[in-house]
Amino acid sequence: MNIKRNMRSSAVVLLLVGFFGAGDAWADKRGEELMACVDKNPARSKDQYFVYDMIIADPGQSKPLVLGMKVWIKDGMRLVHFISPADVKGMKILSRSRAQMYVYLKGYNRIRRITSHMKRQTLFGADYNYDDQMTLRYGDLYLADYTGEEGEIYKLKMKRRPGSDAVYGAIEMKIRKKDCYPLEMRYLDEKGRHLKTETRSSYTCQANNICEPTELKMVSHVRNNHWTKIVRKEWKVNSGLSKRLFTRRALQRN
């Protein structure tokens, strides 16, 4: 009896998959709308500039490593410039799009393209990889499913879009109901294994409801809860950044 029921269920699933396509069968309209709302947030400003401290902590160690960095964002492009400590000072990462990312290695006076296989690489032992730092939009990479709500929070489960080069199998995201800013992201691999958890807290806002967290924290569960915190020190919005800041030529400038 149970076997028969299971077979019927399987047949229904197969039919649905065959009709809607494997990818789309996973997403729902509500989820997609909410993810589009998340993706709209970076476009609220013309450009943004941040100064951050990146604190990398090993649970077994008393003294964390602190990296200083400046970040410029405009039109979906992002430039990260490491300013301290001295051995990483001058290193820069430019993301013109997900397919066009570069790293400037000061020691070699060389610009290297960040190819797909490098996107999982972490920098200086941090828990953020290249992809985490450079992903500004999720809709191109993931299909979203609305999974519920809780007080002022919506919950989404986003699964890698077929054919996309997203580095995670899925992301479980909690967003604020009022403006879709993410509060928590749980990163899963293809098998559903929980890899990392990122929390974004203490949001502050400027005009036009442009909000940014004061603190971002990524905990890696596959590295014995090793964590990295990014603390905002300075933030400017719509300061008139030139697009020419986000070019390979500009990367080599001092």
């Binding site: 060389r110 296989h117 697009k243 020419r244 390979r248």
Partner: protein, 602 residues
Amino acid sequence: MSRPKASYRILSLLRGALVLLILLGVSPGGSLGVSPAWAEVELKWSGRFQTDLRLRTNDISVGRWHERMLAEPGIARNDNAFRLRLVAEADRFTGVAELEFAYYGYAVDLGTFDQLWRQDVVDGFRIRANAAYIEVRDFLFEGLDLRIGQQVIAWGVGDQFNPTNVINALNLEDPLAFGEQLANVMLRADYSPDGNFILSAVMVPIFRPALLPRTAGLGTVLTQRLPFIDSSVRHRVHVEDWFSRRSGFDTVLEELHVVTPERSIENMQWALRIARTVGSHDLALLGYSGRFDMPAPFLNYARIDATPLCNPTAPEECIKGRILTDTALYYPRFWMLGFNASGEVFNPMQLIFKGAKSLGYRFELGVFFPQKVSQALLQGTLDFGGALPTQPSGEYSYDHGRPLVADNTPFAKWVLGLDYTFSEHVYVNMMWVHGFPDEVGAGDFFHEGWSVRDGGFDDSRAINVGQCAQRVLLRNAGGIEQDFSQCAYEILKPRLGDYLVVGTDFKFLNQKALLRLFFIVDLIGVYEERYSGEVQERMREHHHLFTEKGFSAVIFPELTYNFGSGLELSAGAIVKLGKEYSKFGDPAAGGHQIFTRARFSY
């Protein structure tokens, strides 16, 4: 972005000039700093301290007792360097200066008593300007950048091996800084209307030669490595050298003179590049007109020193005299067309493993159009005191005119590299290098051309001694052209070698520790060529890379630990394997070294 007014531009230019003055330490106050009137000038500084200690573990000394050049086991390097980088920025102008001071920790040229009070001799040191330039953004119109002064332009996309990085000369002095280029004064203009297209032009007023390895001098003793393209000339010189040696006269390279190009408009170097991003590929076409940074011989002058000498440690070992040779070198012209591409390509592993990512690739191709170079062989009166017929002063009695040491056949050098990150702990980089940085001239599977790694009289055939001696006498006393192909042997390599370079990074201890393993293998090996009595012609025997005679490789392990806050300690070794005539077993390549390095960046 709107264009600023002309008056504002002039003011901005004046400010730019002031930035340079500040960098040079001649600000109005006479000290390095920013006066209140120019408070908008932002001054940044950084640098590092570095100490290098290296030990050579094998004896690579070369030469016979009267020309011996020593490179014995011991301390090969003891550098203590301090680097300071200053960046001054004001508006669209930037001035950059980077100076490096290094103390060798020993006296470099201490030879006489009166040098003992010369601190510059006793305390060996060097100073190098890695940068001293002004940069102007949006010069004249938006998108045009100008950079004037001492700088490095690295357009190549390969890792360490960059056949198209020809604008700056190579720094081969330090094997651990392999691939580094020496800054030179030049004018560079870049026009980039958007982020995906760059048009660049470069003018270099004055040529700068490459810095050679500290052990390069050892190669000058190996006079059997004849540079001539024509094998009949080489065979004759090998046999004549044997014959004079047999008669008690050794050939010795006495002096090498280097002639650098005149500082003239004709000798300026030019380069042009167009770079564009197409999909996931960065592509560039480039052209260059200038000179090779490695010298080639163009003039030889031989003379006799008929002073008998005996080996002080083995008195029975004597010579009647020496044929002293002075050689002049210069830097031949060439022009190059280059193509660079980097990006990602399909990874065959994706057919098996779903999660596999594309491979990163880098391809760099340079097609060189070199200048033809012949070598004049001059001599004083060569009076061997009756041991051999006296040769009059003048030019060597060539059979077919001055021999070529480089012809004008175009040749190509390239690097094809693939890399992949297996996990956050393991990264692998592989490259096929066609043409090492010191290899120039046509000689590969497109066009035959050889470089001589070893050679001399072929004493494996008993018949040779009498016949070959007679031919030398007939040629030099009688002036009759002779065939010396039966008398000489040579170890040859194609002028452009093929090398496999594999580098692997293992990161651990939360990426604070890096174990880097690097291998370079000569894929071709060597060819041994000599006359075969059986087939009545010269035969070439290939000793491939898996044979004792043909194998040559570099193994370069290095362990680095980053303590944070700018402190980094490294230790490692460079092991160079192969016979003395091989690419890496060559004494001039420096032998095996163990090294330690401490670096503190600020």
